[in-house]
Subunit: 98 residues, 2 copies
């Protein structure tokens, strides 16, 4: 028997320049995504832990400075906050939701 | 100016149970994807290097035995071949094309 729960969920943001796929992991729900070169503002509803899979991204958390995150780096974003992201190239990431 | 090249490419396989997103990396073109629990057969056209991002997958290359690949593991699949994949849980991966 097949149901829509069998399908991977697919999310599209910023006119398709950022897209992600849902996954259930040992650490809970997460998304794996790709951001094209560009600048974005994201809003969180839960605590997010981001891990860079490919490429380099710069982020600025609310009240913070710009930080650079390379492949393998991880960082947390508080719930109910917004953060700025700059990608000079394509970036792949996995984002865990707590 | 916006063009379709700005969008992340999105690929859907096996009734949506496997989906991937295209990305240009330092190592060349790649896809980041999610496979839902299930058994799949994939065909390659180029040499593929797969890296497991989350979960555990079992694979059987043409003429080989079943192998287990955990988070962080990588393996190669020859061009113009097929390989079997078993996922006991959701699996995220990045696949580099040479």
């Amino acid at each position: 028997m097949s149901s829509s729960n069998d399908k991977v969920s697919h999310n599209v943001y910023f006119d398709g320049k950022v897209q992600s796929l849902g996954i259930e992991t040992e650490k809970g729900p997460a998304t794996v995504g790709v951001m094209k070169k560009g600048t974005y503002v994201f809003n969180t509803s839960s605590l997010e832990t981001m891990v860079v899979i490919s490429g380099t991204m710069r982020t600025k958390l609310s009240g913070g400075d710009w930080l650079t995150h390379k492949q393998g780096d991880s960082f947390e974003v508080a719930a109910n906050s917004s953060f700025d992201v700059m990608c000079a190239t394509d970036v792949a990431y996995i984002c865990y939701y707590s």
